[in-house]
Symmetry: C3
C-alpha cells in the first residue's frame, strides 16, 4: 500500500488492520518517534481547517515534521502546472502529500504521476472519495457495534454529491454491511448505485430510520436545498432533519454520526447533536487516531 486514494478496493482484512491500529493509538497513545525524520505536507486546494488540523496533529503525534503548502499565493498561481509542483515537492524529499481538491480524481492523478515513493493521501476530492472519513466513521461505529453484517445503517442528506457517503458505504460494505439506506430528496439521490455497494435508496426519511442502528446525517448546502424545492432551511428540516421525535423511530441505542461541521437546526436538531446518542465528537477524536494509523501504515517502514 503506497497511497490511500479511495476505499473502493480495500478488503475486510486491510480495513480491519487499519482500524485496529487506530484503536490502539487512541487507547494507548503512539510512540512519539515512529515517523521521526518523515515530512508530511498538506496540499489543500479547498479550505478545510478541521481536516487539515486533524492530519497535522496526527503527523506531529507520530514525530513527523509537517508543512502546509499555501496555494493561494503559490507558484501554481504563477502558471506552474500541478505536475511541476508535484515534482518540485518530490525533489524536496517529502514522504507524504495530503491532498484535498474540488475535482474528482486529482489525488489519484498526482499519485499516478509521482516519480518517487511519496505517499499520496486523499483528504477529499470532489464528490469522489474521502477515505479517512470512511475509516473513522467505521471505527466509531465499531467501538459499539463491531457486527457490521447485522447493522441497519441510514445515511441521509445530499448523497449524490457526497464523497463522505461514498467512502462510508464502501467501508461498511467491506466490513459486511448489506442494509445501507441512502435517504434524500430525489435530486440528491445518486443516479446509480455502482459506487454504493450494499445500498438501497428511499425518499422517505421515516422509513430509512425504522429500526436503524446507525444514522449518518450529512451536511446540507443551501444551494442544494433550493434545487430540491426546499426554499427555507425550516422546510428541509421538517422533511429531512433529525430531531428527537424522529430518532425515536430508530433502534434503541442507535448511534448518530455527522462528519461536521454541523448545521444546527437544518439537517440535525441541537438536542440530537448534543444528546446521548451522538457520536460526533467521538468521530473527531477517532479522526486523529485514524489518520495516525494511515500515516503509520504508509510511512512507518521508511522512517
Amino acid at each position: 500500500m503506497q497511497h490511500l486514494l479511495t476505499l473502493e478496493n480495500l478488503d475486510h482484512a486491510t480495513i480491519t488492520r487499519l482500524l485496529d491500529r487506530a484503536e490502539r493509538f487512541r487507547v494507548e497513545g503512539a510512540p512519539r518517534d515512529l515517523l521521526a525524520g518523515c515530512t508530511v505536507l498538506t496540499l489543500f486546494f479547498e479550505h478545510s481547517t478541521r481536516t487539515r488540523t486533524s492530519f497535522v496533529l496526527a503527523s506531529k503525534r507520530l514525530g513527523a515534521d509537517t508543512l502546509n503548502f499555501d496555494l493561494t499565493h503559490s507558484s501554481t498561481s504563477k502558471g506552474e502546472s500541478l505536475l511541476d509542483t508535484l515534482h518540485t515537492l518530490e525533489a524536496m524529499h517529502l514522504d507524504a502529500l495530503v491532498v484535498r481538491h474540488n475535482e474528482n480524481g486529482m489525488p489519484a492523478y498526482l499519485a499516478g504521476h509521482a516519480n518517487s515513493d511519496v505517499a499520496v493521501i486523499n483528504a477529499g476530492d470532489g464528490t469522489h472519495a474521502h477515505p479517512t472519513q470512511g475509516l473513522l466513521d467505521a471505527l466509531t461505529i465499531r467501538q459499539r457495534r463491531p457486527d457490521f453484517e447485522n447493522l441497519r445503517i441510514a445515511i441521509c442528506g445530499d448523497i449524490r454529491h457526497s464523497r463522505v457517503a461514498r467512502s462510508d458505504v464502501q467501508a461498511f460494505h467491506a466490513l459486511g454491511s448489506h442494509d445501507i439506506r441512502l435517504c434524500a430528496p430525489a435530486t440528491m439521490l445518486p443516479e446509480s448505485l455502482d459506487e454504493f455497494p450494499g445500498s438501497n435508496t428511499t425518499e422517505d426519511f421515516d422509513a430509512a430510520l425504522a429500526d436503524a442502528d446507525v444514522v449518518i446525517m450529512l451536511r446540507i448546502q443551501k444551494e442544494r436545498m433550493a434545487a430540491a424545492q426546499f426554499p427555507e432551511a425550516a422546510d428541509y428540516h421538517a422533511h429531512y432533519g433529525l430531531d428527537t421525535r424522529r430518532l425515536a423511530l430508530a433502534a434503541k441505542n442507535c448511534q448518530v454520526l455527522h462528519p461536521g461541521p454541523i448545521n444546527r437546526g437544518i439537517e440535525i436538531a441541537p438536542e440530537v447533536a448534543d444528546g446521548p446518542q451522538s457520536r460526533i465528537l467521538d468521530q473527531v477524536a477517532n479522526g486523529v487516531a485514524t489518520r495516525m494509523a494511515v500515516l503509520a501504515e504508509l510511512l512507518a517502514a521508511r522512517s
Copy 2:
C-alpha cells in the same frame, strides 16, 4: 489554576510565583522537554503577529507542539458555532487554547463551556484583559524596581479602551502599588475606576509624569484621536506625546514601557523609544519568558 483569563483575582503570591518562574526561564533557559507531548493551539480572531509569535515561541521552547487555527477560512465561516469549534478542538485533545478576540469575555465564555481540562489562555479580549501583558510589564518593572509599594506609575493613552491598562493596573495593584496615575484626554479616561484599583485619573500629562518611576505609554488609534479633538497626530503628540523634555519631569531613572507596536512621533518620540530609559525591547524578551511561565504553570503537570 486551569485557565488564565484575567489578572483580576490573582493574588500577590500567585503573580510572584509566575514572575519568578519567568525570570528563571529568561536567565537560565528552560528544559526543552517540559511540555513534550503537549499541543498548544492559537485561535486568533484579531490579527496580531507579534503576540501570536511570542506564544508560539514560548510553546516551542518548552517542547510543545503548536498549531495556528486560521479562522479566515475555517468552519466558523461556514456557520459552525464557536462552541462547536471549541468542542471539536477539545476532541482532538489539545492542551491549551490561546485565544484573542475583539469581544470582551470570549475567552472566559470558551473556558466556561469547555468539557475537558483544556487550558484557555486569554491573549487579549476586547477592552477587557490582556493578562500576559500585565504580567510581562510587571516582570519588566520588577527587574529594576521590585518595591511596587513605593512606585509612582503613570499610564498614558486611551485608558478607556485599553485591555493592557486594565491588566497592568491589576497586576501592579496586587503587587502593592497604590499610586497609579491614569492620564488621557477626557474622552479616553475610564468611566469608572472599578477595574483600576489603586488608580487615579488626570488629563494633565505633566502632572502625571511628576516624579514617576514608571511611565507606560499606550498605542493610540487615529480614530480615537479625532474623537478627542486632536485632528492631527502632531496635536496629540504636543499634548500627550512622551519626548525627552517631558521625560525629564519624571524621576531620574524612570522606566519607559510601551506594549508595542509603537507609533513613532505620536504617543512616543523616537529619542525616548530608543533611549536609555526605554524598556520596550526588554518587554518583548520578557513576553516570551512570561508566556513560557504561564504555559508551564498551566500545563506542566500533564505532559
Copy 3:
C-alpha cells in the same frame, strides 16, 4: 561569516566549503540535532512558496524550530517600521531571519541594523542577489563538471532584472569561470557588467549556445516580453526559447538549469525541461541541501 547577503565577496575557498557541506548533507543526510534549540524565522515580503518551503525544510532537517512571519496582517501594516519589527524579533531571540524583499538591499539594511548576533539570510532581494540560488546552481553544475575554469556557460532571459543571474555569475566566477555568456534581447541585457565578472553579452541565442557546457534559462515575465517587442509568448519562444533543436547547438552533455517555476513553451520547451539533460529537479533537491549548509555554517556554533 554572520550573514549571507550576496555572493559578491565570497572567495573560492568559502564557496567550496559551503558546497562540500551541502554535498555531504545531500548524500549522507544530516544530524537531526545540529541546530536543536535554534529558531529560524522566514520574513517574506514577496510570496514564494517554493523558496520558503525549501528554507523551512532545511531548518527542520537540522532540528531547528521554524516560524513564518505573516506580513500581510502584521504590525508593519499598522505602521510599525521595518526596523521596529527587526528589533522586536531580535528581542525574541531568533537565530536567523530568512528575508525576501522586492527592494534591493533590504536584507543588508536589516543586517546592518541588527543589534544582536542574529544571522540574516537573503532569500532574494529585488534585482540584486539570491545567494542561495547561486550556490545551489554551482553545486548542481559541479556534481557533473567540477572544472569551472573550462566551462562555457550561457545564461538566457531577463538578465537585467535577474537576481538569479547576478548571484550565479558571481558564484561561477569565484569558482574559476571566465566564459559566461549573457544572452537576451537588448532591453533585457544589463547596462553594465560590473556585477557580472567573467561575462560577455549577446543578443544571439544560437551564438550563446554554441558548444555551451551549461545553459541556464531564466523565467520570463509577460510584461517584459512586451517591452522587448515580443507581444506573444510564441514570438519570444521562437527567438529565445530553448527547444531540442537549439539544445543540439550546445556541447554533447550540456546541462540545462532553470531556477523555476518554469513557463512551459515560453522560455523552455517541455521536451527539454523534462529531458535527460535537464537538471531542474536536481536543483530543487540541491536547494534544500544548500540551505542546510548555509544554516549550519551560520548557526552551528550557537546551538
